[in-house]
C-alpha cells in the first residue's frame, strides 16, 4: 500500500512538472500536449480508446498464452529428446535475431490484416525468448536430483510434475515477465503495420492527423496495461513460488 502511495505521489509530481513545463514554455500541443490535454482527450474519446484497447489486450493475451504454452510443451519434449533440443537451440537463436519489424510485413502478407496476423507476431515475439529461457532452466536442475528420482523408480510423468515443473517455476515466471512486455510490443508493432484496429492503429492514425493528446493518451494507456500485466504475473509468482 505504501508503495502505491509513493508511486501516486511521484506520478502527481511528474504531472505537475510536465504541466508547468508546457505552460511556462508555451509548448504547442502538437509537440507536447499537457497532462490536462491528454486527460481531456481520453475522457472525450474514452469509448473509442477502450474499444481499441480491448482488441489489443485480446491479441496480447492470446499470443502470450499460445507462445508460452507451446514453448513449455516443446521444452518437455526436448528434455526427453536431445536431438530435438539440439535442433531447437540454433533455430531459435536464428529466428530470434530477425527483427520483428522486418518480418511483420511478411506475416501480414501471409495471414492478412486481421486478428490472426497480430497474434502470430505476438507469438513470435514471446515464443523464442521463453523457449531459450526454459530449456536453460531445465539444464540447471541438479543432475543428482534426477538420480534421486531414478532411484525411487519415478515415472516420466512424476519427474515432470514433481521435479521439472516446480524446479523451473522461478525461471518460468522470469520468462513470463519478459514475455509480458514483449507481447505488448509485438501487438503494437503488428497494429502499426496492419491498418485495421487496436491501440497501435489508433496511435498511428492519431499521429497522421497530428492529434497528439490522443497519441499520448493511447501510449500511456498501453504502458499502464504492460505494467499491470507485469505485476499480475509478479503477484501470481509470489503466491506460487513462495519457497524463495
Amino acid at each position: 500500500m505504501f508503495k502505491v502511495k509513493k508511486s501516486l505521489i511521484y506520478l502527481t509530481i511528474i504531472s505537475l512538472l510536465w504541466q508547468a513545463l508546457v505552460y511556462f514554455f508555451n509548448i504547442p500541443t502538437y509537440i507536447l500536449p499537457s497532462p490536462i490535454d491528454i486527460f481531456v482527450s481520453f475522457s472525450n474519446n474514452h469509448m473509442l480508446i477502450l474499444r481499441n484497447l480491448g482488441i489489443t489486450i485480446l491479441e496480447i493475451l492470446t499470443g502470450f498464452l499460445l507462445a508460452n504454452l507451446a514453448s513449455l510443451m516443446l521444452v518437455c519434449i526436448a528434455f526427453y529428446n536431445k536431438r530435438i533440443e539440439n535442433i531447437i537451440f540454433p533455430v531459435s537463436i536464428i529466428i530470434k535475431t530477425i527483427p520483428i519489424i522486418a518480418i511483420a510485413p511478411i506475416i501480414i502478407l501471409w495471414f492478412g490484416t486481421g486478428f490472426v496476423s497480430k497474434v502470430v507476431i505476438v507469438i513470435l515475439m514471446c515464443f523464442f525468448p521463453s523457449l531459450i529461457n526454459m530449456v536453460g532452466a531445465t539444464r540447471m536442475i541438479d543432475r543428482n536430483l534426477f538420480y534421486i528420482f531414478e532411484i525411487y523408480s519415478a515415472s516420466k510423468k512424476q519427474i515432470i510434475t514433481k521435479l521439472i515443473i516446480p524446479a523451473t517455476l522461478p525461471y518460468l515466471f522470469s520468462s513470463l515477465k519478459i514475455s509480458s512486455s514483449l507481447a505488448v510490443i509485438g501487438a503494437i508493432v503488428a497494429e502499426f503495420m496492419a491498418v485495421n484496429k487496436g491501440l497501435g492503429f489508433l496511435i498511428m492514425s492519431s499521429y497522421y492527423s497530428l492529434n497528439m493528446p490522443m497519441v499520448f493518451a493511447s501510449t500511456l494507456l498501453i504502458c499502464l496495461i504492460g505494467l499491470l500485466f507485469y505485476y499480475l504475473i509478479d503477484t501470481i509468482e509470489k503466491c506460487l513460488v513462495n519457497w524463495q
Binding site: D142, N144, L145, Y147, I148, F149, E150, I151, Y152, S153, A154, Q158, K162, L163, P166, A167, L169, V241, W243, Q244
Partner: protein, 231 residues
C-alpha cells in the same frame, strides 16, 4: 558371505582408468568409510555401487543381487554430497517423496524417523528455514524412508562446521544402530572416518585402488598411520 562384494571393478574415461581392479568386501551391519584425496573417483564409485552408473569392468554383488536389481528392490539408499532436498516441499513432504513416488501413503514412518533424531517439531518448516546440518540429516533420513539395507553416503558432512558435524556423527550412529543398516561412506576427513567406522579403506590415486584397509574392530586405528598412507 559378504553383504557387499566388489571384485576387480574398473572404470575408465576414454582410455584413462579412474578406478582399476578395485576390490572390497563389506559385512552386513558394518559402517565402512572410504578415504581418498579429491578427484580420485570416490563419488563415481558410490554411483556405480548404487546402480545409477553402469559397471564397465568387474562385478558388484549386493546381497546376492546386481546393483540395478538391488536398486529396483529398494535395497540401496544414496545420499549425495549436497542435501538435494526440494525447496518447494516442507520438511515432512521432503521425507515423504520416496513413498509418494512409490505410491505409498505413510506419514507415520516419516514422523517416526524425525522423532528418532529429535526433528519432529520442525516437520512443518520449509527448507529455507532450517540449518545446513539439519538439511544434511534430513537428506539421510529421506534415504531411509524406503528402509534400504545399504546406505551410501557421499561426503555427508563436507559443507558443515565442526560443532554441527559432532552433533551429526552421534545422530548417524543412532540411526545406523537403531535401523541396523550397512553404511558405506565416502569422505576425505580422517577424524570423521575414525569416529564412525568399523573399517576404513584408504584409496590410492591414479588409478584408484584399495591401498590399505584399517579394521577398527580388531586394531586401534592411529590417525598418523592413515595420514602417512594417504600421502
Amino acid at each position: 558371505m559378504a553383504y557387499l562384494n566388489i571384485e576387480n571393478l574398473s572404470e575408465k574415461y576414454g582410455n584413462l582408468y579412474v578406478i582399476k581392479d578395485f576390490n572390497l568386501c563389506v559385512n552386513k551391519g558394518d559402517f565402512v568409510s572410504i578415504i581418498g584425496k579429491f578427484g580420485v573417483g570416490k563419488s563415481t564409485l558410490l554411483k556405480i555401487i548404487a546402480g545409477i552408473m553402469p559397471i564397465q569392468e568387474g562385478s558388484i554383488i549386493v546381497d546376492g543381487l546386481a546393483p540395478k536389481e538391488a536398486l529396483a528392490q529398494r535395497m540401496i539408499g544414496i545420499k549425495f554430497q549436497k542435501s538435494n532436498l526440494l525447496p518447494w516441499r516442507n520438511v515432512l513432504n521432503n521425507l515423504l517423496l520416496p513413498l509418494e513416488l512409490s505410491g505409498i501413503n505413510d506419514n507415520d514412518r516419516a514422523l517416526e524417523l524425525l522423532e528418532l533424531v529429535d526433528l519432529k517439531p520442525i516437520s512443518d518448516l520449509s527448507i529455507s528455514q532450517i540449518s545446513g546440518g539439519t538439511e544434511q540429516l534430513l537428506s539421510i533420513l529421506r534415504c531411509l524412508m524406503l528402509d534400504p539395507e545399504l546406505l551410501l553416503l557421499d561426503e555427508p558432512f563436507s559443507s558443515l562446521d565442526e560443532i554441527t558435524r559432532e552433533g551429526l556423527y552421534e545422530k548417524i550412529k543412532i540411526i545406523q544402530t537403531a535401523k541396523r543398516k550397512t553404511v558405506l561412506m565416502v569422505t576425505h576427513s580422517i577424524n570423521e572416518a575414525i569416529r564412525l567406522s568399523d573399517k576404513i579403506i584408504v584409496l590410492s590415486e591414479k588409478p584408484t585402488k584399495v591401498k590399505k584397509v584399517f579394521n577398527a574392530k580388531k586394531d586401534k586405528i592411529n590417525i598418523n598411520e592413515i595420514k602417512k598412507c594417504l600421502r
